[in-house]
Amino acid sequence: MKAFLLTISMILSVAAVAGPEARRYLQQQIASGRIDPARADQTFVFNRQQYRLSDFEPEVGRGLLELFGRSNRDQAKVTLQNYLLARAEVLRNTASPKRAEVMENLNLLFDVVHGGAGTVELTKGLECLPVESTQDRTVADLLNGIRETERSTGCSELAPGQHRLFASDSQNQYTSGNYLLRRRSDGTYQAMLHLNFVSDRGSVAPSAMLERAQGCLQIASSNIRGPAGERLEIVALGQEDIARIPASERPSANDISITPVGSRSFSRAYASNIECPVIVHEVMHLLGLCDEYQEQATDMASNNWTCRVVTRAPSIMRELSVFERAIPATVTCECTSPLCRRVMNSSDEKLKKIYLGQSLSEVVPHEFRTSYCREQSLPSGGISLAQSGGSLVVQSQDNGITLEGRSLGASTTPATPEVLRRRMTCVCPANNTGCLAEARRIADRALAGHPRRGCPSDLTSAPLGPVPDHRPPGFSFQNNRITLVSPPLLPSVLLPNHFYKILEGTCSGGRSAGYQECASFAYRSPPCNVPDRCRDDSFYLGAHR
């Protein structure tokens, strides 16, 4: 009976006219994020009386307006969308007085979300990568025109000892991320980012992920060079490190979630098993670089980023294997297999050359071989060791390249070598100059005769991974361990205009102007109007001297 009376009183109270205190209370609750107006069926209790949220649309609108003042643009956009989705039924009923209230809220909130620049800026400008950095900026900041970027310094080169602080600037269609750029007394540049890892069902602790990122960036930094050989180090800072930087130089934090093994990573979420090439790619986004890989040409992609200029030069923003090809590498392998012991303990240098020479998959980049090449096994007989000529044999053609990869069969002995052969035939489509240029680079790499960059396939021990090394290329064998030293196959992890973009941020008229122009199409949908010059990698990305 008591419960019945309580229910009746609650039903009556819902219909009750709420006083100004209840309205103010609701507005505060929405503004503070404690009540979600996207749930149309929600009720709230004030002074022991229950009210329906949908009876208070004007307060809902004002609460959202306050909330937007503390939200970033993306949050505001999706909150408005969620609010409208929750009111879909009301919007459908054109005769409903409630609909007029919802439309009034839309009018109120629409301009705030879109800002002065209107829908074009909202949908396109903010989708370029440093969008992610704008997550740190509230709409209020943006509307007030606050600029953290020290634009007054323009594109001037930093002198040793000087620094520059970069931060997102959503008013600019193509902007930079949040980082501190310093120039050391020896002329080396240092780009420092505050990475704030937060666990999101991940199996790696934030401190361990920070350590991993720091290690990967240290490896990458061993060969990040500008076109004139200038060096750039990229440093990831944690909470403790950042506190040691003077407040005026401190870059804003970049929050990154740690997600479960197997989930896909992006610059704001790292899968627990993320590896160095992906970490470096994602950190480059935080430094203001955009993607350059092709979105799949389907109806789906036409809703998205088909304006992107797809580059052809070896760029880490398009192809992850650039990371491993651009750094000098030392790999150590445990010589555990019978084949390894037989080969490495023999005095036959030809056998060792085949066993430890570059493989087809190391020389021909993954994306290239799966796009333009096919592979077939050749009969293992009919070739003597004297003819084998190392692990790779190359034949260039006008329209591509054919390579023969050679490896040793498990039954190989110095007296009776078994040479296994695979042929990879790569054919470039007509007029695809990028493909032909890559084919020439592949031929150069194959002819260089460097050692493998990973352990031979019969060795089960995991390679220690590439680590910076400046020893001359070659291999050594000691204590049953093979050490393979390979030189970098590319002049730098970054292409020249990537390098300048990180140095210059968003300044106009500098050496990164071409990059900024072409990268601004990276997250746009048609109509595109991409200038022809952006199709030329030397304009977009520059060329190493």
């Binding site: 996207a38 993306d74 949050q75 956009k77 999706v78 969308q81 969620n82 409208l84 989705l85 879909a88 919007l91 459908r92 839309l106 629409f110 879109h114 829908t119 949908t123 903010l126 989708e127 969008v131 992610e132 197997g262 896909r264 990573s265 992006f266 610059s267 704001r268 098993n273 992906v278 994602e282 986004h285 955009c290 993607d291 890989y293 979105e295 799949q296 789906m300 992609a301 809703n303 998205n304 980023w305 398009r318 192809e319 992850l320 294997s321 493989s359 087809l360 998959s361 993954h366 994306e367 071989r369 799966t370 090449c373 592979e375 096994s377 695979r422 990879m424 990973g454 396939s457 997250y523």
Partner: protein, 194 residues
């Protein structure tokens, strides 16, 4: 009773074909999986990133006999009706539903027909639930490729039949010489191998 039945029919959403796609582009490659909810119920699978139920297979699949997607179809059409209402409202302001769907580079999202639903949308969890439910149905491969669990052979399937089988070269298709890694197949898609 007649009144109840009449109201039920009136309120039931109009069923028509709808495409539900899960999409994500990342430096590894583009992941795309589409369910076409129509009479000829099909699944286009260019990735195993979103579900591992069909293991190492890419291509086109048909719903196996005895399976039904009526519930999922009704739910998707209900969501689509909501989206269309919001779209109409925003169109009058010179904006659109997609304008208010933030896209993060490498972030996953759904497409319901041509409407993009980002992870932060209130309807994303509902779509994910429907997507998972569809993934768990029994599917029969019509076209595409299949790789054996031991990664030793690659079979090509056309018209629901195996037309060829060859040795699978992990080192050629995948980014490393050995698993784990990801493998690219021209015109077919991407497979992630643990």
């Amino acid at each position: 009773m007649k009144f109840v039945l009449c109201c039920f029919l009136f309120l039931a959403p109009v069923l028509h074909a709808a495409n539900l796609t899960h999409y994500q582009s990342s430096p590894e490659g583009t992941s795309l999986q589409t369910f076409s909810l129509s009479k000829s119920m099909t699944q286009t699978r260019r990735t195993n990133a979103f579900d591992r139920s069909l293991k190492l297979r890419l291509g086109t699949f048909a719903l196996a006999g005895g399976e039904s997607v009526v519930t999922e179809e009704r739910l998707v059409n209900g969501i689509l009706a909501q989206i269309q209402t919001v779209e109409e409202t925003l169109r009058r302001r010179g904006s659109s539903f997609n304008d208010l769907s933030p896209v993060k580079p490498h972030g996953a999202f759904f497409m319901v027909e041509n409407f993009r639903v980002s992870e932060s949308s209130r309807i994303y969890p509902e779509l994910l639930k429907i997507f998972r439910s569809l993934s768990l149905k029994k599917w029969r491969q019509l076209e595409g490729i299949r790789i054996t669990d031991d990664l030793k052979s690659l079979t090509t399937i056309r018209g629901g039949k195996e037309v060829s089988t060859q040795a699978f070269s992990y080192a050629f298709h995948c980014n490393r010489e050995r698993p784990p890694g990801y493998c690219l197949f021209k015109d077919q898609g991407i497979l992630f191998v643990d």
